[in-house]
């Protein structure tokens, strides 16, 4: 299994901030409270479950998780 990578679609994100609360290591919020992935979105080992949790809780389905 390869590494996971996350990406927040900026057109879809509405700033619910569920991802930041579930996986603060993987997401950051801007001054308006909208989310984006930390760095290039590569999920460090051990945080895979948090990445999936954030994805399955985003009300706008704005988070894409891909496997490299």
């Amino acid at each position: 299994m390869g590494k996971l990578k996350i990406h927040v679609d900026q057109d879809k994100c509405q700033g619910h901030a569920r991802c930041k609360s579930l996986a603060p290591e993987l997401f950051e919020l801007d001054e308006f409270g909208n989310a984006h992935e930390v760095g290039d979105g590569t999920v460090p080992e051990g945080l895979e479950d948090k990445a999936w949790l954030a994805q399955t809780n985003c009300p706008e389905i704005a988070i894409e998780v891909t496997e490299e």
């Binding site: 509405q14 700033g15 619910h16 901030a17 569920r18 930041k20 609360s21 919020l29 001054e31 308006f32 409270g33 909208n34 949790l53 399955t56 809780n57 985003c58 009300p59 706008e60 389905i61």
Partner: protein
Amino acid sequence: MSDTDRVLPEHPPVTDWVHDFDHTDPRWTENPFPIWDELRAVSPVVHTDRFLGCYLPTTYEAVKQIAYDTEHFSSRRVVVRDERPEVQRNAAPPITSDPPEHKPAKQLLLPPFTPDAMKKLEPRVRAICNELIDEFIAAGRCDAAARYAKYIPVRAIAHMLGIPESDSDLFIHWIHQILELGIKDERQLKQAVEEMTAYFAGHIEARKAKPTDDLISTLMQAKDKTGQPLDDSHVLGSLRLLLIAGIDTTWSAIGSSLWHLARTPADRERLVREPGLMPTAVEELLRAYSPVTMAREVMKETSIAGCPIKAGKMVLLSFPAANRDPAVFPDADKVVIDRKENRHAAFGLGIHRCVGSNLARMEMTVALEEWLKRIPEFRLDPAGKVTWSEGTVRGPRQLPVLFGKQA
């Protein structure tokens, strides 16, 4: 009082929910969940001739489609009423705004409501909760809605706006006139809006002489996209929105959560034992007892989930009904406080996502934490009666509880 300011007659009781639903019917007010289940089993969208014609999407998918479709559905009217008075410009931006005006109006309000900003407010909210508990804990009982849940959001938003927390009862009175009585009584609605506008206008004038560091000043200093200050009607509209939206929504969410915990000892004991569950529990309580239903006005004919939708009618955009859709939430009718996947829509979907969602979550969390710390055991008072609000924000208005273990 003009000729149009009428108090409308009471509605006849509903006998056919599928073709003639009414969200102000006492049965809906008391317990809407089986009604939504009945309607959802028949159609993803139902219609009533009441309220001059109104649709209700019953599934998550139908609610979502409407929430995302700002072309066919306008936010210029956000409450379903018996009449359609003239649309007021800057009624309550951005909740009453459509694109393209919506985004700049909303962006002004987002920075003061980020999770980080809410962390700074949290100590004041904890103090408010404890001040309230101090007032009734010795009695061994209280009305948890009227003495506790009701005052937490109103004091918190007053603190943020920079208006006296001691005016809370006045604000609550206006909200009752606007969101409950105003559905049928135009005069009460207008009176409350006028009083609220005059109140804020006074605070704006005071800040012109002596600037302060609060949300009213933030709005007064905000610039629109052309670099000009917002006109007074916009500032006043947004202030009305913050006060209206900031109060009985979260009051209802806290009240429903305490109602659930009062009658579900297993969940209450588990939360006391495992406080780390609070974040998922709050999300689940938000899903199961979502307080807020919004409205839209149909601007152009379209179809939703195969159902034709005609222009000129209203839509009751029920996020609570979406959150009970078993196609999206397994065991949708059960409260599962450690539910992992919970893509609930309690704060709306799409561009009108509640600007105060981070505030509401913080208030709910703090209100439940402080209550459970000091009153870990409580139950409904069998001698009392729980009553629920009428209208489109749902929550207990009377919630009599007894403290301590059952004798």
